[in-house]
Subunit: 353 residues, 4 copies
């Protein structure tokens, strides 16, 4: 930490800061400049936070220097992690593979979910996404099928062999969702719902943590730290677009977040081009960009009949677009040194062997 004094700060003000720092066991290095004095702090950062240094007389600013997250940082865990999803079939998400996740935005019926899952599988997906609990901006919009939706997902997993990723929106539902699904998704609106983060941190299941649509990368990693702090390091981050002034797309996909996160955290990171853009014509080019930038996977909306979809129909792929995506997902990962995750899948039999 660095404390920057104001030009008007007195020697007594400087001495007061030094004294407070030393009172909690820290060391303070004073650099006296022509206009301002700077004080470098060495010691336990958490103890410094409690000092409220910004409130002391003569203090102009306080710069934090090291990362505020610990368990999810690469600092003490330099190798990037792989998260395995699924019970009988285990699918990796990590630095060596490229994982393609697809499925319908919302679970509407067994037939629609199965059909979407089969489309996803045929296109090369190895994990199935689908929402049973939908956080909707309007209380008058379709809110999801709840437990019935979870049961449909579990049934479709039986049929297709695809492990299931599904969103949980309320800490009270974590247990039932964890009983049915293979990976728990925290949506963009709940990234800072700390009680929910702690609950999934104790669920024993891998977590897919979407970036808050307005969260900085640092806040996002702090949200992951909340999960990790409860003992769960099986976290996959998902960039899904941030809110900006541009209105041509629903959100602005922050593609740079992928290498920025990879430089600072060991957690895998994937991209959701469907929710970022909100337009199906952008899903294929943005998925290609995600592979090329080095993402560990993508998650895409598909639907057998977008016209009748109860949620986000305009961004769901089918037909020619889905074939075009499937082709890109086969072709591009090897060019950037990635193996298709489907070739690394471990089935229970193999695991026992």
């Amino acid at each position: 930490m660095v404390v920057v004094m104001t030009p008007e700060a007195t020697d007594a003000d400087v001495a007061h800061v030094v004294e407070r720092v030393e009172s909690v066991g820290g060391e303070a290095f004073v650099s006296t400049g022509v206009v301002r004095t700077i004080i470098g702090l060495v010691g336990d950062i958490d103890s410094f936070h409690h000092l409220n240094l910004r409130s002391l007389p003569g203090v102009g600013d306080v710069h934090r220097i090291s990362d505020p997250y610990k368990l999810v940082s690469r600092q003490h865990h330099p190798d990037r992690s792989t998260v395995w999803v699924g019970e009988t079939t285990k699918v990796p998400v990590g630095p060596d593979s490229f994982t393609f996740i697809a499925g319908p935005c919302a679970v509407e019926s067994p037939a629609q979910t199965l059909e979407a899952a089969e489309m996803a599988k045929a296109a090369g997906a190895t994990l199935l996404r689908g929402g049973a609990y939908k956080p909707r901006t309007s209380p008058y919009a379709f809110q999801g099928l709840g437990v019935k939706g979870l049961e449909i997902l579990a049934g479709v997993r039986e049929t297709t062999g695809l492990p299931v990723v599904t969103e949980v929106v309320d800490a009270r539902d974590v247990q039932v969702v964890a009983e049915h699904a293979d990976m728990l998704q925290i949506g963009t609106r709940n990234m800072a719902n700390f009680g929910l983060l702690q609950a999934v941190g104790e669920s024993g299941k891998p977590v897919l943590l979407k970036r808050g649509m307005t969260a900085t990368i640092e806040e996002w990693l702090m949200a992951a730290e909340y999960i990790a702090q409860r003992g769960n390091l099986d976290i996959v981050l998902c960039e899904r677009g941030i809110r900006t002034f541009e209105q041509a797309t629903r959100n602005t996909l922050d593609i740079s977040a992928v290498p920025v996160v990879q430089a600072t955290s060991h957690l895998p990171i994937i991209v959701d081009p469907s929710h970022a853009a909100g337009r199906k014509d952008l899903v294929v080019p943005l998925s290609r960009a995600a592979v090329a930038v080095g993402a560990d996977g993508v998650i895409v909306d598909v639907h057998p009949d977008p016209e009748t979809a109860l949620c986000d129909g305009p961004q769901a792929l089918l037909g020619a677009e889905l074939r075009s995506l499937a082709q890109a997902m086969r072709q591009l990962p090897p060019v950037v040194g990635r193996v298709d995750a489907s070739t690394l899948v471990r089935t229970e039999a193999a695991a026992t062997a």
Copy 2:
């Protein structure tokens, strides 16, 4: 609703849209332009939403025309509402008065809370704020005293007579918070925590709904609609700054939100200058601006000893700054036609009379 066809749309595409609209009982008015065709829709908007019009062939864009919120809209409720807070002492927040709410960011101890409450009361505040549950970006930061904090607040209410506003961050805590507090606050990070909104909607207590730091005004009003839909219309909105590229202040106070909300919703709206700015030197000028723009109140952080505050010390007022605020809160409201809420307070005795 207006459906705008692409320049390439065929007559069959137009006919298909018309047919879908009529299939749910709507009427479609077709305007054929030189380049594009526009279709005006008349009927039940919710039924149109299920049509996924944006997914139909030849559809370029769909413009919603009327407000998506109903219960909180002025459309069918043109008079602006007043919300009364408190049991034995009832304090109004609404169009005729100006309500000054103050207190510490976090409840730390009985002595600190009482001292802050007495500072607040002496400065003219009629409601006490204070946090027992603190949503913090870092899992390593002070998370609040929980139920113990609620008991401290209830005790201080006994002593000072000030009704209490406090935040609830988890649906599982709504009941216990409602038992102790007079008004439940939904913080900026939980504005889109729909389960929590529904829970406070059923709590029987007035709600202070802060704007999500990245929420549009429309999304904020939709969040209020979630509360209202559960039968609770005692909602006060609170503008507390939005996230922008400007770094000189923690957030950018969107002062225009006050008249914008008042033009479209009947709910009262107040301003939180402390959290918007994150700097105590801006609290007084921004509070003055809040009165002048027509807000129905302000909510301000005060603390007897900001240096030792466990939360947001740098923005808490005391001493000369608090006196300056007190003076402005006495002086300005009458100039813009507002009565100090303290003169309208109803005590139980008076109410029985």
Copy 3:
């Protein structure tokens, strides 16, 4: 300046930074922490900039500590400045007064300009605004009357006695605009047009510098520094809204910018509520907020017939709204300790006396 080394930086990396700093005559104070080393720099900041410290091996980050602007800073000029506008009639803009500027967005004809000026004057304005050169997003929109517009403005000044503020959009026009107008306005789109800033810096006329709609406050003050560096310190800043995700208003008025600027720069600062909001129903409340927050003035669009205005008709005031504004501009400034600028106006006769 503070240089923060990465955790992996070697002693040699630290020594290299120190050596570079000393090579340009600076001093480097090294604070060795548990994880990282911090180096505080003392000396001439401009010379440090040329070192490209961020490019050196082992350097993680570089924090600038003092303000990058000099001439416009309060650091060596603690008293806030007053800028006087006009030749025969001199109108102050500064910390003691409140200056009300009004007029049409665009000069369309002698009659329309005179009528708008008389409306402005009757409402209490002491300076006339009006655009002869209009920077328009579309090349197909009305671009202003040019020199003919300047002549109209000069004529209306003769009739009404109101000094004239008008925009200049091209360095090649500065001379002719300076010959006709009393104050040169730099619009939001040209805040970073450095050639134009230098040209108005040499024009000998006061400058009204609008904030770039996406500029940070620091960049805005650096733009002012460009003007000041050419010898012109008669600069008034104008906050006019920044671009955010909120779409209910054309821009988001950053009302906090007023006290933030006043804390760091000695230049006067006014507010433009018309362009910030783009909606005439917000102009009066935002103007009241501007007075209350401590702005040194406002600049407002008025037009005798908004329906036929060639530019920004929807935000121009007339009739009841203008009367409401006039009343607020009379009533509020005294409450916050401001004198109406009209009472401080110096006419040539008075000045000679």
Copy 4:
């Protein structure tokens, strides 16, 4: 255009709108809804703009429906364009090729420029970038060598055969820059400098138009329209990041802008990863993403000695990073169906043949 009336609008208000529309030769289609009336307008849009419909009584909102740009739109020019840059050597930028542009941020000396150009050429670049006029935030920063820099660039073109792209920041310099360079760059700060846009529109040289750091895609295309309207359609757009709340990167690269622009305009579009990120470790992954998303090229900073660079050293590539970029630029374009622009270069001899 669609005019949406307020719920309170009277029949007379509707009739007034219709009358105004018809007065300029348009047709108005009235759709009367339960709550609101909608009026669809057919006819010449420019004439409707002059009506100030938003100012009329009873009008709630006006939605524009068709694109405001014409010459740069794909509507009447469905095939995407190729722009050829250079005199004796002609390099294409367009839909069939992928063009790699590289060079130093600023021209500092003949030796540094030649060395950077040779690095760029060896890495596969076919166009040389380099700044002789630098728009800098601070008046105290290096402002470029001006005409001397242009002469250095022309000399380096002689030696290396690489056509030259360089920025022009002032309309008064357009002629001299056009005499020396092969392509004129408009920087992000000047995207809305309309006089400069018109001047390059008349220069007879191809233009590289960077997106304003805060411009919407629509505003950017309107800026291109300003150039096109002066008779110059040889325009290449360059996405270079927009300003958001995220601070980990200098700007947020809006990678979605590439397919969004290609869907609506026939102009080529390239990506500048160096200025978007401001960090050299992101340049290679973002360049790969640019190829994969379908961009027509990239423009990258390289410098023989970033430590001593006078401008933007921290983002300039050399050594291993540049080799890694060179490899990606060879490998990826063919995978997405692009030919390296170097294989399509036409030399004068070939052209004569």
